[in-house]
Symmetry: C2
Subunit: 428 residues, 2 copies
């Protein structure tokens, strides 16, 4: 083994280009994280001319054998999508002991355990964090951090296109057809939206999650699957009236040692966290015997978010090649200073006990103004008869903590102020 | 190396007992997951008599050297807590090339990178998923799945005790003192609550997260830290009036290559997802340059949830000993059947286009009743003048899908029904 770890890509579409850019741009950072040099070897594309102007000094090739037979390539990122020829390519690479990273939900849903067995047999590995939930870590947590749990149920909003469309229909009072058009115009739906709107994409992803959660192969074709094309604005409005939101939900439940898998538009109570997951966001909720309920939420699609998952897998695979035991935090990157909290900029909530006299607010706002802090709103209560004090609550505009602290010092000296009770930052 | 992997425990308190029970009870499952036998070796305790009645056939010892010198122990779970003697014990074990799993936030916050370096140097490893967020996978995702990201910010509700107390104060209109008392009675607060209510526990956890997110050592003692003991019910009510919720928030932000770390009660807008995290739940929100914003939510404390994280680490360490390359899904456990969706039990939403005649509802409810499906509520709209049809929306009580499907078949034959538009399950 040379000291560097060679990485080749199969495919350079949207996600591929994002991965390629990051590999080129973040070379030094990635090398530090891995502990050795990540070397870009080949990129398999159909049309070299389409790419070689944008990415200079990259070895593009049209010939898969250049990748397969390159002895300096240890990790291959498969981003072609679809079954053919991706599955055969992955299998040939694993047989050569290569480490594969893929975003291919189609292949992993239908042949995941076959390919994993092949990897184990040949001392190779296959990673597929990007195949479900885009950038949300879910494959890793299910297969490592939560592995001790017996999982009872999975509920997920795992198709960004349909979630975007349903959110849009309800929020903009739009028809299904117009929402689809807008999703296509915004790049959130494919020109041929069939797999997304019919729930097939979600069924693939659910099959992958079931494999990890229940340690069982689920044929994605056997999953009960109902798309969103019959949903009208009427349904969203009736649901709203009844206290629900409609989402395309993928669910698997383990009951009496049987699992039921179902993908369909579902009325979710507005009390449930999943009802609040709007737009292209994805979220996955799991129930385990030890952990109880955990939820993962984030951007479920997009080239950048997906490249986060792929590059995470690449770095993990490379670390696994470099070290026999994976340790979590053995890279010290560029020195970052830990800053003083004086520089912390925020809006603030300030509650004072003040003497019940006229001119209190004028005095306080004078002090704030001297310290260049402007006040956004005020609550002042009637005086408490017994103590003859009142509550004064101020909300400030953004200010840095240092200035706030010196203003508070002055306020404490003001004789109309009984005490400064609380100073708390605000997040809007 | 023998074919089994030996595991010893340091400590058998609440969490320790949960880990021990799971190791004993789930032996076969764990062995299948690891691919070899997980063998329980020694359990270090202060008082053997306190434990050996509850756990028979377990090798309890009061002597750390029994663990340190046991050549059959490969993985050691440290659950003693506190700095002394835990840190020295961990260091001695790592020097011997042993793999350590710990829940010790105190040690990891103050000596995390020192111990990790020691592990790397001796071909050992240290895992600490349980040190932050209880059962929520966060250490793993940050250090593997999200590793390619430059993280900009961390915001977390990472202390269950204070979150429980603040939720209780607001919901039950309770004073701080009464909420603390109730938390202590329910086991959610320690008899000495200082570290929790003063934010010190959260500062330790934030320091650990910063180490992973920013690849930098943050001294937990240097973190600006304000507890919740000054928060009165008044503050929660004023915040509510202004559209906010008060949470003890731990935050770190990277600005101009400096990080600011702060733990303090914070007003969070009710629009923000973190504002909805109540009771003993924890949640951590991260912003990365590639992934955008991701959120992890779940139970942040409790013996069972914490044991989920610890056992996940133990199994991962054992797999790492057994296989040179980690593969995600190479265990086929007991056969689970994939069930037919006919058995799927749910409440249902049913929307029909019906002819505008009297007796429609009677006809439909008659059919539902014949199929033993009871109706929970009904919406019927005025007829559309042009088409002479009306909308009928039924919400059913729980029924299985098979029965619903046969009811729908009968409904379709009913001449007063123009069409069955949508049938959707409901989650409450």
């Amino acid at each position: 083994m040379t000291d560097s770890v060679g990485v080749s890509l199969l495919g350079a579409g949207n996600v591929g280009a994002a991965v390629l850019s990051a590999l080129i741009k973040d070379t030094e950072r990635n090398n530090q994280l891995v502990g050795t040099k990540l070397e870009l070897r080949y990129v398999l594309v159909r049309d070299i001319k389409k790419h070689d102007k944008k990415f200079k000094d990259v070895n593009f090739t049209k010939n898969f054998n250049d990748v397969l037979n390159d002895e300096h390539t240890s990790i291959i990122v498969e981003l072609m999508g679809g079954q053919v020829p991706a599955k055969e390519y992955i299998a040939s690479l694993l047989k050569k002991g290569k480490h594969v990273v893929t975003a291919n939900k189609d292949v992993m849903a239908q042949s995941g355990s076959e390919l994993t067995d092949l990897a184990v047999k040949h001392g190779a590995s296959i990673r597929y964090e990007a195949s479900v939930g885009g950038g949300i870590p879910i494959i890793g947590p299910l297969s490592r951090d939560l592995l001790a749990n017996e999982i009872f149920s999975i509920s997920g909003i795992i198709n960004g296109t349909t979630n975007y469309m349903l959110s849009l229909m309800f929020q903009e009072k739009m028809s299904y057809q117009n929402a689809l058009l807008k999703a296509q115009q915004s790049g959130y739906a494919e020109p041929d939206p069939y797999n997304d709107v019919q729930g097939i994409d979600a069924a693939y992803k659910l099959a992958i999650l079931c494999g990890l959660a229940f340690h069982v192969d689920v044929d994605p074709g056997s999953i009960f699957c109902q798309g969103i094309s019959s949903i009208e604005l009427k349904d969203l409005n009736y649901a709203d009236e009844l206290g629900y939101v409609i989402k395309l939900l993928a669910r698997a439940e383990l009951i009496d040692n049987k699992i039921t898998c179902i993908v369909c538009p579902t009325l979710i109570s507005k009390q449930e966290p999943l009802s609040k997951v709007d737009g292209v966001l994805n979220a996955i909720q799991l129930q385990g015997n030890l952990v109880g309920q955990v939820i993962f939420e984030g951007p479920g699609a997009g080239a950048s978010a997906t490249s986060s998952a792929i590059l995470g897998d690449v770095i993990d695979a490379a670390k696994n090649i470099k070290y026999s035991f994976s340790n979590l935090n053995n890279a010290q990157l560029n020195k970052i200073e830990v800053s003083n909290s004086e520089n912390f900029i925020s809006r603030y909530y300030l509650r004072l006990n003040v003497v019940d006299e006229s001119g209190v607010l004028a005095a306080i706002s004078g002090i704030m103004s001297e310290h260049q802090i402007s006040i956004a709103s005020v609550i002042q209560t009637e005086a408490d008869q017994e103590s003859q004090t009142a509550q004064l609550v101020l909300i400030t505009h953004e200010a840095n903590r240092g200035k706030i602290d010196s203003a508070i010092n002055s306020i404490k000296k003001e004789k109309k102020v009984d005490s400064v009770v609380n100073l708390l930052p605000i997040i809007d």
